[in-house]
């Protein structure tokens, strides 16, 4: 067993028992990166020297008996839309290709306090818009289970790196499924936290009312550990929520006894592959055997939800991305005479096609004469969806669905059909629209050997319940690490 194959919690115990050093762990992961990165291409920026120096500093602290966080010395990768002071933050876009923020995202300040080790910045779909990481300006990330396949997106770099052992943990961001869908495709555990529990300060905004940073790991406990480190009220983000945040990793009780699981036909519909349905139902049966009850719940149509999602997300994106105009930072076109020419050429050369489509859609749904029919109606639809979930959670503790309708697709397969690509999000966007927490955990492989994801959705602030249920299922399967591409 190599160190890079272990979970954060296992590594923490080993370090605590002085069986290995933080430097050895980072070295092991860096060697793994050298070995796999050519195929996977998860990283946009790698800080080998800096990460080793950080690891050595942790070892020194431990040697002098300083109290350390369980994350101290754990090598972590960061999605490249999270601002890292002094380290390039590109959002995988040409327009930010040379951007070095003079400030940290709040989550980075929080992670600094844990003494974890930063390996580098991870690839993604440009501005987190996409479901395959093919929309990166720089490179395509490959699914470590089969490099012909996409890792999912938009946090494809994060999930692929964790799955391949190129990072022990990673931060991703989830606006419509961007943590959960790549987790499903790569066989990792990914949490989209309750909206407002993790500060968005320093997360380059895609859709402000839906974006949430979250952890990706190879075990439930690891994900809980990283979530505990980053959650909490932040004065710099007025949408972050003031409340008590427990130590989630410590609090895990792997059990579903007495829990009620809700299932909705709407989430097992036409587009969902038989293999995925079968695997998810098998998981439901397994949890039933562990003492869970299963009830049927009624949820709004996924088509309507997807429509509301694309309207709201694109509207906010069109406004959020207007600041990339070549004036203050980022790329500026080389030849121009007037201001308008500078704006238009900078943005047309700086953004990829998918980003342009979303900006155009967002501009359209907000424009004079269309606002009421699209944006406003979508916001009322959102309210209806939120109410429907509240009703559903009146009779169940969590809702189980597939994370994605199918397993990973081949690179290039969906690139010319946007609507087909958007359908990848049909089971995940609801959670963002309703502001709820959801976990994606592995629940088997398809016959191509690609992982299948199970999504667990809970009411607001129910992360603890999701961790308990997921940990119970993890025990049944003998650990989720087996679904990663660690071999």
């Amino acid at each position: 067993m190599e160190l890079y194959q272990l979970t954060a919690w296992e590594l923490f115990e080993k370090m605590a028992a002085k069986e290995c050093s933080a430097e050895e762990i980072t070295q092991s992961v860096l060697r793994r990166i050298d070995q796999k990165e050519g195929d996977v291409q998860a990283y946009l920026t790698l800080n080998k020297e800096a990460s080793l120096a950080q690891a050595r500093a942790v070892d020194q602290k431990r040697a002098s008996n300083e109290a350390l966080s369980p994350l101290a010395g754990i090598p972590i990768g960061i999605k490249d839309n999270i601002c890292t002071k002094g380290v390039k933050t590109t959002c995988a876009s040409k327009i930010l290709s040379e951007f070095v923020p003079p400030y940290n995202a709040t989550v980075m300040d929080k992670l600094d306090a844990t003494d974890c080790v930063y390996l580098g910045k991870l690839n993604m779909d440009e501005f987190a818009m996409g479901s395959s990481t093919e929309n990166s300006f720089f490179q395509k990330t490959h699914n470590p289970h089969n490099i012909k396949y996409v890792p999912g997106g938009s946090s494809g770099g994060s999930a692929a790196a964790v799955s391949a052992g190129e990072a022990v943990l990673a931060l991703g961001s989830d606006t419509g499924g961007s943590i959960r869908q790549p987790s499903a495709y790569c066989g990792t555990v990914g949490l989209k936290p309750t909206y407002g529990t993790v500060s968005r300060y320093g997360l380059v905004a895609f859709a402000s009312s839906l974006d949430q940073i979250g952890p990706i790991g190879r075990s439930v406990k690891d994900v809980a550990l990283l979530y505990s480190a980053i959650c909490g009220k932040d004065e710099k983000d007025t949408t972050s929520i003031r409340r008590e945040y427990p130590d989630f990793a410590k609090g895990i009780v792997p059990s579903v006894k007495g829990m009620t699981i809700g299932l909705s036909d709407e989430y097992f519909g036409e587009g969902v592959s038989d293999e995925v349905k079968t695997a998810v139902m098998k998981a439901v049966d397994a949890l039933k055997e562990q003492g869970a009850n299963v009830v049927s719940v009624s949820l709004p149509s996924t088509d309507q939800t997807l429509a509301a999602y694309y309207i709201i997300a694109s509207a906010e994106a069109s406004s959020n991305l207007a600041r990339f105009d070549g004036v203050k930072y980022g790329y500026r076109t080389k030849e121009y005479t007037t201001l308008e020419e500078m704006y238009e050429k900078t943005r047309s050369e700086g953004f990829g096609d998918e980003v342009k489509r979303r900006i155009m859609l967002g501009t359209y749904v907000l424009s004079s004469g269309y606002y009421d029919a699209y944006y406003k109606k979508a916001k009322f639809t959102q309210k209806m969806i939120q109410d429907a979930f509240q009703t559903a959670f009146g009779c169940c503790d969590l809702i189980l669905t597939p994370t994605a309708p199918d397993t990973a697709f081949q690179i290039g397969e969906n690139i010319h059909d946007q609507v087909k690509m958007y359908m990848n999000d049909i089971l995940t966007v609801t959670v963002n629209i309703a502001g709820l927490p959801a976990l994606s955990v592995p629940c088997g492989f398809d016959k191509k050997g690609l992982p299948i994801g199970l999504q667990m959705i809970g009411p607001k602030f129910s992360e603890g319940v999701l961790f308990n249920a997921a940990a119970c299922y993890e025990e049944l399967l003998g650990g989720f690490s087996a679904f990663s591409a660690l071999k």
Partner: protein
């Protein structure tokens, strides 16, 4: 379907070649068809949520950044300012 791509491009400060315009027009029409599947519901009244009151910031001034680090990412700087093509002030 009445999407005026030229106007939207102008509003978004994007420009397309004729070929791109054709491609985007088709794609955007497909996407709009997808987002038109909203339910038929009453969408009157203001968009406001009185149940999420905001905590406000105390009025205290602080200085944390210097000009050089703030302008380090700017494409063109002169005399401590960002430079843009000449514009007539509105």
């Amino acid at each position: 379907m009445e999407m005026d791509l030229k106007r939207l491009a102008k509003l978004s400060r994007l420009r397309f070649t004729e070929e791109e315009e054709k491609k985007f027009q088709g794609q955007m029409e497909q996407i709009v068809k997808m987002v038109e599947k909203l339910p038929d519901l009453d969408a009157s009244g203001p968009l406001i949520d009185p149940n999420s009151p905001m905590e406000m910031r105390k009025d205290v001034a602080e200085k944390k950044f210097n000009r050089d680090e703030l302008l380090k990412n700017a494409p063109q700087v002169q005399a401590g300012c960002v430079v843009v093509p000449k514009v007539v002030e509105e």
